[in-house]
């Protein structure tokens, strides 16, 4: 790789905010035709670095050098004009408009009287879409496309300029495996055209599959750059967190209690069908499968957000009908949702109020809410779950992901649920806090709670679950005990290849 001129080089970038040194001397170079991973825990400074690159923040020290020319970026448009293009994790598209209009948003070709030149627009767009080899055309409404295809529209937008470097921020976060393959092909194609790719992701498999080099940030400091071929997951993780991570298997050594939840033949339209399983008190049951396998939908059914089309749900052996979250909470079913910020917390409210939200009706002294009772509950679960916050008045939006997740878990524990369902317990939570959440889930089982953990991360389910339900395309393929399961047979089951109960 040496000898080539980097398309983009950062030299000793320092960015400080009041009280924080967000970036502390970061240097990085992206060569033409390479895929360069940028890794680090949440809060390590990746997003600040991206904002500096995109001209949203100006660095206090250091230089951005594009093709050997020191440059000042004045904003995202300026960066784009200089050939640095971003593909953001959150897509930024106008859904009601056509593909062509989105690609040339703000730069629609004009005719006289300010009219849009639709012919030129369609021609230019279709030329770009052809390069990307996608299955839709310029006139398609963006809202009608899948997430993956919407991402292709974003990428197409990047290709309207002569891109020197393309920066992908968690591009696979909401893609299926098949869609990822297409994305990786596009990336490889860009690579072969000599474009430098910066690739931000938490997903190790991807990093090792497609990148050439890996740079690691920790606490705003540049930790070093590794050649992907010469390192492994453990090496990178160590660099990210500065220590080793325990991901050994966990098995319950205590006696399991009664069956808390049993599900028989549960179906919900074409989302999933004929799902049966049981969860005992004192055990953690993991649900593993690809995105779209129906795991989250099962959780939503149990929590009353979706009505099942067939099947029965039994709690403590009693058949129950659950039509709303209100019903579910009454029956002792709790859901820690996947989208913590959107569905789990009221971000603008303080810690205490979030924690007591579902039971505030029960905490009344006369007609008024009892402050004391609320604070007592908060204090109890703050200590129990080791929630680090300056006090109950702290706004939840200001806490770290790990502490936010603990508030959601505490919210339900304080109501003593029969079953605790945790969907993607560590999504968006940094590596260090992950272990804490994992231990917490294990502890809860040991205390006799029935816990369901839904996860897209294999190490996570292997680590926390006593039993693993493998799902593929809306069906339970096989239920593994922790003795039976191996990475190989688990992957086979969730890919629809093997398993005892294959339909």
């Amino acid at each position: 790789m040496t000898g080539k001129t980097p398309v983009l080089r950062l030299e000793n970038i320092v960015k400080t905010f009041p009280g924080v040194r967000a970036l502390d001397g970061v240097s990085l170079s992206i060569l033409p035709g390479e895929v360069h991973a940028l890794m680090g825990e949440n809060g390590a400074g990746k997003s600040t670095l991206m904002k500096v690159l995109g001209g949203i923040h100006q660095p206090n020290e250091g230089q951005i050098i594009v093709a050997e020319e020191p440059t000042v970026m004045s904003g995202p448009l300026d960066a784009k004009a200089k050939g640095i293009v971003f593909i953001h994790q959150e897509l930024s598209l106008a859904e009601e408009l056509s593909v062509a209009e989105n690609i040339y948003l703000g730069e629609l070709p004009r005719k006289s009287f300010g009219r849009v030149d639709w012919t030129t627009l369609a021609e230019k767009t279709n030329a770009i879409l052809k390069k990307l080899n996608v299955g839709f055309d310029a006139g398609t409404r963006v809202g009608d496309l899948s997430i993956a295809n919407q991402q292709m529209v974003e990428i197409a937008r990047a290709l309207t300029v002569d891109a020197k470097a393309v920066i992908f921020d968690e591009p696979t976060a909401s893609l299926t495996d098949a869609e990822k393959v297409v994305l990786f092909e596009v990336i490889a194609d860009l690579q072969s055209q000599g474009v430098g790719i910066a690739y931000i992701s938490h997903r190790m498999e991807e990093i090792f599959k497609i990148t050439d080099r890996i740079s690691v940030l920790r606490d705003g400091q540049y930790q070093g750059t590794l050649n992907t071929a010469e390192t492994n997951e453990e090496g990178v993780t160590q660099m990210m967190i500065g220590r080793k991570l325990d991901l050994s298997r966990n098995v319950s050594h205590h006696e399991l209690g009664d069956v808390a939840l049993e599900v028989r033949g549960l179906s919900c339209g074409d989302l999933y069908s004929d799902v049966s399983f049981e969860v005992r008190r004192g055990e953690v049951v993991g649900f593993y499968g690809l995105v779209g396998a129906g795991r989250t939908e099962i959780a939503e059914t149990l929590f009353g957000l979706r009505d099942p089309s067939a099947g029965t749900i039994l709690i403590d052996g009693q058949e129950v009908k659950i039509h709303s979250p209100y019903d579910a909470i009454e029956r002792g079913i709790s859901l820690v949702p996947e989208d913590r910020k959107g569905q789990g917390l009221v971000l603008g409210m303080n810690c205490r109020d979030n924690m007591t939200l579902p039971q505030v009706d029960d905490l009344k002294a006369g007609p008024f809410v009892s402050d004391g009772a609320e604070i007592a509950i908060f204090d109890q679960y703050r200590d129990k779950l080791d929630i680090r916050t300056p006090g109950w008045k702290q706004t939840v939006g200001n806490l770290s992901g790990g502490n936010q997740q603990k508030i959601v878990i505490g919210k339900w524990l304080s109501m003593h649920p029969n079953v605790l369902i945790v969907d993607e317990p560590t999504r968006g939570i940094d590596v260090g806090s992950k272990a804490e959440i994992h231990n917490l889930l294990r502890d809860l089982a040991a205390q006799g709670y029935a816990v369901i953990v839904i996860s897209s991360e294999m190490p996570e389910v292997l680590h926390v679950a006593d039993r693993i339900v493998a799902m593929y395309s809306g069906r339970v393929m096989r239920t593994f005990t922790s003795e039976e399961v191996t990475e190989e047979n688990l992957i086979a089951a969730i890919s629809g290849l093997g398993g005892d109960q294959a339909a």
């Binding site: 930024s92 106008a94 948003l105 004009r110 300010g114 009219r115 849009v116 009608d144 009353g304 957000l305």
Partner: protein, 337 residues
Amino acid sequence: MDISMDKGTVSKALKNGAIWGFIVLELIFFSIAGEFMAITDQAFMDIDNMLLLLKQSAPIGIIAMGMTIVMVNGNIDLSVGATFAIAAIVLLDSMTWPIFAGLGDWVIPVSCLLALASGVFFGAINGLIVWKTGVDAFIVTLGSMLGFRGIVFMFNGENPTSHLNWTLVDFAEAEFLGLATASWVLLLVTLAIWFLMARTVHGRNAYAIGNNREAAVNAGIRVGPHMMINFMIIGFLAALSAVVFYAESGSVNPNDGMLYELWVITAVVLGGTKITGGAGNVIGTFGGVLAIQLLRKGLGHIGADTSTVNLVIGLILIAVLFLDRQLNVKGKEELKV
């Protein structure tokens, strides 16, 4: 394309077609009900009656075209009724100003231009405040609705402002190819705004801004000026509506145009424009305007009074929004709230 595409198209077709289906339904209902309950012998679907209906739709309809582009843009304008009244006063009063005394009938175009300019001016004030302060358009125009109405009352207290210019009345009552002046203005405005929204860069950018404002900003679209232009357009159209209406009536009360904003918004929403912006078109709005006017006229035809008309329109508005929500939710996934 994929399945979701088909679903989207179906629900969209329903949405676009729904208002016209509703209009046909109204026509059939009032024609039949009219046979039994009508207070006159005249058939409801009489051609003169329908032409009159189009003419009566004009004051609300002209403003509704402007509201469509403002709402697609992601804003709303509650001050149109007050702007309407101000423009009417400017039109009628300026014709009596001494400085124009020597103009004879040439005072008519001058006063019309003054009235239209006042509409553009007050629209520009709204747009400028929304642009420069970043305050939500709902709040800004709620304020200006009260403020502009205050100006109306300051001008002449509780008294009406009147001036009849017979040349102007003749113009307003003229007919061309069977359509009254007001009807022609409504049709031309609809066509012009359709062209603006569907065919020009400004129009397409307005959709983009209403759809995903952040994406529009990131694409380098200057959101503020686009919004201001749209507020000026709706101000202009509110004034144009006043010119058309008061050319004929010749007298404006300080309370005139009150609740116009609500009728206009009702028509726009019935016509399929999303209240959150980003989707909608003037053809749907045109349907919405006709539907409301048909309902008013039809209920009157079978002997219902104004309060019943309001109640029915209110119920229909809620029913339509409910139907729209159901269609959209079903199109994606049925997830409870």
